[in-house]
Symmetry: C2
Subunit: 209 residues, 2 copies
């Protein structure tokens, strides 16, 4: 039996996966991940580094890795980040050590990221499992964005206008999961099935970062 | 949105799949399928044509399509069979109409077949989903074969000797599922997950037969 075959054939555990969950703003990426945590999925959720100040109630290393702007720039220079972005002077990025540690521990890694970020990850780690979380319709997405009241109506429309471009990135993804309103567990179940199936591949994906 | 993208993106049902479940003799293919039926999986199970006489308790069109040897040879000549084999003068084969009808109805088709037969299906329908059901060990397989008491000890050893060749066919398969003794539902759940995941592919498989 060749060594690249699935290790489950030799009674060994399957290789850990890097699972990228992406999709338009407001589609419910956070809700899906929160529900997966609630259900006790044995995954490592990637904690993003952030240069903005810690807010009351937020836990360093859980919600974000809170770092200073100086430290963040150092991380960029040292190539410590898998992906990063600056929005209005605030830095956000994914530390590579987060993913390396998690994968070395044998656990699957789940990474939630916007569609642009997913494209970057695709270039860096094409063998990751790319899941596009899609809304059932634009109307449903508008409703959800308005409901969360963190964006102005103009900003909501701006985000909706981006969806067509985001859908155009679907070819970068392996799977598409529709997150219907009030059917969160269906989407979560579908993601669970995808992860299960990926672990049963005859030839597992090989992640190197 | 391109038409070849998953129809779920347009609120339509996913395309039906052709799922081939194969594996060594005695690995538990029948048990897995029986359990899937019990659980009410909404699949079309392919009924094989068979030239041997109907036994008491067997239902024509359910257990097998019972046909005469003459009719079977006619089916071969008319290219009505996806795959067939003759063993000791007894014909067995898969009628194409079974699969066409089932797929036209929008249901997934599940086809249980030995590893040689799966290789034939792979040539005819490479876009089918190929699942290899594997034993946890040769000892477990030997135990199962002896337990069912339909083969002599010599025949059991002959079948075990075939397993290495069968495992060598793994590259023809997409997925491998271990059917551990007393953990049938785990294998069934894994197959369910695979089918679910396949329905979420951004680019669905396109079966033509």
């Amino acid at each position: 039996m060749e060594p690249f075959l699935n290790p489950i054939l030799q009674g060994k555990p399957p290789q850990p996966l890097l699972v990228v969950i992406s999709g338009p703003s407001g589609v419910g990426k956070d809700s899906v991940l929160m529900r997966m945590r609630e259900l006790g999925f044995p995954f490592h959720f990637v904690v993003t580094a952030n240069s903005r100040p810690q807010r009351p109630g937020e836990i360093d290393g859980v919600d974000y890795h809170f770092v200073t702007t100086e430290r963040f720039r150092e991380m960029i220079e040292n190539d410590e980040l898998l992906e990063w972005a600056e929005v209005y002077g605030q830095y956000k990025g994914i530390p590579k050590f987060e993913i390396r540690q998690a994968m070395a521990s044998g656990r699957d890694v789940i990474l939630r990221i916007n569609v642009d970020g997913a494209a970057t990850i695709k270039r860096l780690a094409p063998e990751a499992v790319f899941i596009f979380l899609a809304p059932a319709s634009l109307d449903e997405l508008r409703h959800r964005l308005l409901l969360r009241r963190t964006e102005s109506p103009a900003e909501v429309e701006r985000r909706l206008a981006m969806v067509a471009d985001e859908l155009a990135q679907l070819p970068n993804f392996d799977y598409v999961v529709i997150n219907h309103a009030d059917r969160l567990d269906e989407a979560v179940g579908q993601i669970r099935a995808i992860i299960s199936a990926e672990k049963a591949r005859v030839y597992p994906r090989r992640i190197s970062l």
